[in-house]
């Protein structure tokens, strides 16, 4: 590898690419060339840095300068000032929202301070399309160690000892899963990587595949070695073109190096991977549904047992793990189970990646030790609530999870605590809501998703979620009754109790948890007929404040249904019966005379 004095790491994740990071990389290279610095500075396109809020990101090492929201036009200045003259471009540095000071080194940013990166260790650090960079960071050393120094059982024991649990949502102990699959005899077995990430608002799997595809390939090979499988399949969303491309490149490089294929590292172990595309069905995150989808069938789940470890893909023992789970594996083997289990809480070891989104200052991907509190995540790493609003709730676990409130802020996050609080880890989506968010609407949003994504196989999920959604709609449109809320509770409980697969068994969680934690808000909707957050259109009451109204008639002219009347230069009035709550008058009024309740 050539020696450069300076590396310019440009984020090539989907988010930053959407903001022209490719052009930025191109411009940087161009400018370097213009100034004849080709032998000194190198531009590297990496995976996601996580700090998507401030993307596109350009990080310069060795001095660890972290430039945010870089535009293609900024490249010239970065090269001529920073690279050539060593002067940082202050205006592109991150500004601490509280102190308003520019922070140059990402190490000193609140966003990164509490993070420990294991699964994301290479994201934003290496060029994911260059296997050499991965190998330089001890890549494939874990596989080599497993193949040459350890028996499959020893590897499984290490994983078991590390306490690693499935990161896809369920939290099943990974080592135990491998052991079961290893114990079932068959002529062919399969290792499947579940990359059909579907939680709306979660993108950690995509980021790992885009930023560090080799770690997944390496871990799948290790798993194959453990359970006795020679074939690996990555089931990946077709909507992730970049991740697919990077995986393909990585696999090709592995084959060229002999890290996939026959007799890997002279150990006699054969392994290779192929890709299968998920075609847009959230339920395929459920492993039996995923397997059917891989077989070219409708992605419907089947009753377990039999578990995939007994009879999975093509009826053969199959081990399915999620991307993030796999990403932890090489690190565990290299650094040891003790190291891994020293991080985290008693029953949840290691770290967890969360996709922080919603009404929060620092939207992005973060990795924190299990046991970090919600407060630390939201207020320290996340930088608090956007626009200085008040925190209201945080939704974890996507459509399967629930909403947590202020009283949960100091709960250490781990699998069991979240379940105890009525939510769940899920794949790690974390959506922050502020005072403007109506919790009934939020529940409705999730149910709409579940209704869309239900496979339709079992009655409780197929019809029950539809009915939940209809009832929430009724409440949001101001026609609900307190009995409806009670019925929601019963119906939700029955769906949880009777649905066939994980999707249906958790789909009522957003409703049940919001009813539990925000009962008053539901009550306000059905008894007082108001939406405290002012989100539910039908429950808004528009009135004109007579003291502010100048009688300019802008509102009455904008009203599509003629609900506003009044004389010129006299205060106007809104006929609440005619009003369709479109908000047109509100937008038009220059005198803030329209009052919304």
């Amino acid at each position: 590898m050539a020696q450069y004095k300076m590396h310019l790491l440009v984020c090539g994740g989907t988010g930053c690419r959407a903001s022209q990071s490719e052009r930025i990389a191109g411009n940087l290279k161009e400018e370097i060339k213009n100034l004849g610095l080709e032998n000194e500075a190198q531009v590297v396109i990496t995976g996601c840095f996580g700090f998507c809020e401030k993307g596109p990101i350009v990080k310069i090492v060795p001095d660890n300068t972290f430039y945010t929201q870089v535009k293609p036009e900024d490249c010239k200045e970065i090269i001529s000032e920073h690279v050539l003259k060593g002067r940082k471009v202050t205006r592109l540095l991150y500004e601490d929202p509280s102190t308003k000071e520019h922070i140059s080194d990402s190490k000193h940013m609140g966003f990164y301070q509490k993070q420990i990166r294991i699964a994301l260790r290479n994201c934003g650090f290496i060029n994911p399309e260059n296997i050499d960079e991965y190998i330089a960071r001890d890549g494939y050393a874990a596989l080599g160690k497993a193949l040459t120094e350890m028996t499959p059982q020893q590897v499984i024991d290490q994983i078991k000892k590390s306490g690693l649990r499935g990161r896809g949502g369920g939290g099943f102990p990974t080592g135990l899963k491998w052991e079961i699959a290893a114990g079932n005899k068959a002529d062919q077995k399969y290792v499947v990587c579940n990359a059909d990430e579907g939680d709306p608002g979660a993108f950690m799997d995509r980021s790992i595949l885009e930023g560090d595809p080799h770690s997944i390939i390496e871990a799948m090979a290790i798993c194959g070695y453990c359970i006795g499988a020679t074939k690996g399949i990555v089931y990946i969303r077709a909507e992730y073109p970049l991740a697919i491309q990077r995986l393909k490149i990585a696999a090709r490089q592995c084959r060229e190096y002999g890290l996939l294929g026959a007799d890997i590292m002279g150990s006699g172990f054969d392994f290779d991977i192929e890709l299968r595309y998920g075609a847009g069905a959230f339920v395929c995150g459920e492993e039996t549904a995923l397997i059917h989808s891989m077989e070219g069938l409708r992605g419907e789940p089947t009753v377990k047992p039999p578990f995939p470890a007994q009879s999975g893909y093509m009826g053969k023992p199959t081990n399915v793990n999620n991307v993030e789970t796999f990403a932890n594996v090489p690190a565990i083997l290299l650094k040891g189970a003790e190291w891994f289990s020293s991080i985290g809480t008693e029953k949840s070891k290691g770290t967890k990646v969360f996709a922080l989104a919603g009404k929060i200052n620092n939207v992005g991907l973060i990795e924190v030790p299990m046991g970090t509190t919600l407060r630390e995540v939201i207020f320290e790493i996340g930088g608090g609530i956007k626009d200085g609003k008040k925190f209201k709730a945080v939704q974890t676990g996507g459509p399967s999870g629930g909403c947590l409130t202020e009283k949960h802020l100091d709960t250490p996050i781990d699998f069991d605590n979240l379940i105890a609080a009525g939510s769940m880890m899920g794949s790690g989506g974390m959506i922050v809501m502020d005072e403007d968010d109506c919790m009934v609407s939020v529940a409705k949003f999730y149910l709409e998703f579940t209704v869309d994504e239900s496979c339709g196989k079992c009655a409780p999920c197929r019809v029950g979620n539809k009915r939940l959604h209809e009832m929430l709609e009724k409440i949001c449109s101001g026609k609900g009754t307190i009995e409806d809320v009670e019925y929601l509770k019963n119906l939700g409980a029955v769906i949880k109790d009777t649905a066939l697969c994980g999707l249906g068994q958790t789909s009522p969680n957003p409703v049940l948890s919001t009813i539990e934690h925000f009962y008053d808000e539901y009550k306000a909707h059905v008894t007082e007929r108001i939406c405290p957050a002012g989100q539910c259109k039908a429950l808004k009451l528009y009135t004109i404040l007579a003291d502010k109204c100048t009688g300019c008639t802008a509102c009455s002219r904008s009203c599509p249904v003629g609900a506003i009347s009044g004389e010129k230069r006299q205060p106007h009035v809104i006929d609440a019966d005619k009003c369709i709550r479109c908000g047109a008058c509100y937008d038009k009024c220059k005198f803030t005379a329209i009052h919304v309740q």
Binding site: A281, R298, E300, T302, V303, P305, V451, D452, E453, S454, C455, G456, K457, C458, A459, P460, R462, V463, G464, K466, R467, E470, M471, E473, K474, D484, Y487, N490, L491, V494, K496, D497, T498, A499, L500, Q505
Partner: protein, 595 residues
């Protein structure tokens, strides 16, 4: 070895509803409960154990039970018992869940029970009654899933009534391998339907109707021809005659509360006469005729084969079953010259009636209405095929099912159970035991063997019962000694088994001389026009046994000994496979290409 036997026998103890019971390892909670008199309701689960047909999607969630130590309720149909398991099938939690789930299903189901063609037969209706559903919690104007309706000659689809039990899908794909139906769409709009929700007539559907036979609601129902029959009966210008298929007599009694397997031949004839049919004839007569034609065709092919003729097509395949004909026309275009060209008994009867019997009566064919009572829905399609019409007038005008006949009898205020036995009319009402067994799988080939043996060997059969050809196994094979020449016979019922045999023949794996194929499980006795078995295959077994009882009781048990058949050839047809016989009793097959 001993170990294996022992492990199969391994027993475990469980407690269901405070009752301690012992079950074999591997038993499901549902089965264990059922074996001990606890009937857990279900809508999707179907187990026809005599026929090895199972549908277990675990989708309706009605059979859920409480299992101690388990977080959520367990579907009893697909949860195996484990040692020491404690199961409760009717706690408040279970009953609430079961009722709520049923309410959900009903909330997306039309409520026209009063006028639904499955009313009184509907498993969903019955369960709603059992659980005492009196109201359905849902918002006003709650969404319902609606779909394109489809009426084919044999059956009707009203998928608004589908509850996604997937029984039809399993039957159509796994059992029959027809592939006309599949689950389509997703979530609330998911339903079982042909591709693109097209009409069945444009799909590869064979009209076997087995989907109808297992549908727990009114989503899939037979096409109803009773109105047309009543109109014909009341038309003074028409002579209306009826033929009854062999399997009908073994099942019709069930519609009147009789034990499955009760033979009601005499009562049925009496009822038909009371209904006003001018003549009551028996399809069995035509079955004997079929044996004469098909048996002769078989012997011809075998003789040529034994003489070394390389062009002869063997094995010969039976062609009585209209669903089977539809199946091979669509799937085995390369083998269309393999099946016997003999028409089915229904069509032979129609042809003889419209051509020969009209002569006897001296009336025009347009003035004779031939009605058939069949255990079958595909017969409705068959009698409308163009090749069985003369100048647009069909040989068989209407084909009604066993269940339709029952409803006609009920509507005519006939006390079926009190009827005196009556006899068929002559000449088309006389038949042999060989014809009766057409109703069960293996029966056609056994009847053919009885005749072919005597014609081939010129010897009298010592033992008429070929028990080696009987049974409910899906595929059976036997070799019959024709006085030193071994004749290899294959038998399959259910089209999936037929496909296995046919694919084997196509690949050159077998050397059968003759193969009998029936589309429905158990043969015609399990036909889709029969009284519904509601998932209990004991019913089919009982009909099966009844058919052979009827045969054993017949004086004449070989088709070629039927005196009226002999007479028909003497007076009218000449000899089997004569030109006239060819014209009236044989057919040809068409290439269809539906997928």
């Amino acid at each position: 070895m001993f170990n294996n036997v022992f492990s199969v026998m391994e027993k475990i103890k469980i407690t269901i509803d405070k009752k301690e019971i012992e079950v074999a390892k591997g038993t499901t909670i549902y089965q264990a409960a059922k074996d001990n008199g606890i009937h857990i309701p279900t809508l999707c689960y179907l187990n026809l154990d005599h026929l090895k047909i199972e549908n277990r999607p675990g989708g309706c969630r009605v059979c859920v039970v409480e299992v101690e130590g388990r977080k959520n309720l367990a579907p009893s149909c697909s949860t195996e018992c484990t040692n020491g398991m404690v199961v409760k099938t009717h706690t408040v939690r279970v009953l609430n869940a079961r009722k709520t789930v049923l309410e959900l299903i009903l909330s997306d189901h039309p409520k026209d029970c009063l006028i639904c063609s499955s009313s009184g037969q509907c498993d969903l209706q019955k369960l709603s009654q059992t659980l005492g559903i009196r109201e359905i919690h849902a918002v006003e104007n709650a969404a319902v899933s609606t779909y394109r309706k489809d009426v084919s000659p044999a059956l009707k689809r009203d998928m608004d009534k589908c509850i996604m039990c997937r029984r039809c899908e399993t039957i159509c794909n796994t059992v029959q391998t027809v592939g006309a139906l599949s689950a389509i769409n997703r979530g609330f709009m998911s339903v079982v339907a042909p591709a693109f929700e097209q009409d069945l007539i444009d799909s590869p559907c064979t009209f076997c109707g087995q989907c109808v036979a297992v549908c727990p609601t009114g989503a899939l129902t037979p096409f109803d021809d009773t109105g047309r029959v009543i109109r014909a009966l009341s038309d003074p210008t028409k002579t209306v005659i009826v033929q009854t298929a062999p399997a009908v007599r073994a099942a019709l009694g069930e519609e009147f509360g009789m034990e499955p397997g009760t033979l009601v031949t005499g009562k049925m004839v009496a009822a038909l006469r009371t209904l006003g049919f001018d003549k009551v004839f028996d399809t069995d007569f035509a079955a004997d005729l079929t044996i004469m034609e098909e048996g002769t065709e078989l012997l011809g092919r075998i003789s040529k084969f034994l003489e070394g003729d390389k062009n002869v097509k063997l094995p010969i395949l039976t062609s009585c079953c209209p669903a089977w004909v539809n199946f091979f026309e669509n799937n085995y275009q390369d083998m269309l010259d393999v099946p016997s060209t003999a028409r089915s008994p229904q069509q032979m009867f129609g042809s003889i009636a419209k051509n020969y019997y009209t002569q006897l009566l001296g009336i025009k064919r347009e003035d004779l209405v031939v009605v058939s009572v069949m255990p079958c829905l595909a017969k409705k399609y068959e009698c409308q095929r163009e090749e069985f019409k003369t100048n647009g007038n069909p040989d068989v005008d209407f084909s009604i099912s066993t269940r339709e006949l029952a409803s006609l009898i009920k509507a005519a205020n006939i006390d079926f159970n009190a009827l005196e036995d009556d006899d068929y009319d002559s000449p088309l009402g006389e038949s042999t035991g060989a014809a009766v067994i057409f109703g069960a799988t293996g029966g056609v080939i056994e009847a053919a063997v009885r005749t072919a043996y005597e014609l081939f060997t010129k010897k009298k059969l010592e033992k008429i019962d070929f028990t080696e050809l009987r049974g409910l196994e899906g595929i059976r094979t036997a070799s019959i000694d024709f006085n030193g020449t071994m004749i290899n016979i294959g038998i399959a019922h259910q089209l999936g088994n037929a496909r296995k045999l046919l694919d084997g023949i196509r690949a050159g794996l077998y050397n059968f001389h003759a193969i009998e194929i029936m589309a429905c499980p158990g043969g015609c006795i399990g036909g889709a026009g029969q009284p519904l078995h509601h998932g209990n295959s004991d019913v089919i077994k009982a009909r099966f046994d009844a058919i052979y009882r009827e045969d054993a009781g017949k004086k004449i048990r070989k088709s070629h000994e039927n005196p009226y058949i002999v007479k028909l050839y003497e007076e009218y047809l000449g000899h089997p496979l004569s030109e006239k016989a060819h014209h009236l009793l044989h057919t040809h097959y068409f290439e269809k290409n539906k997928n």
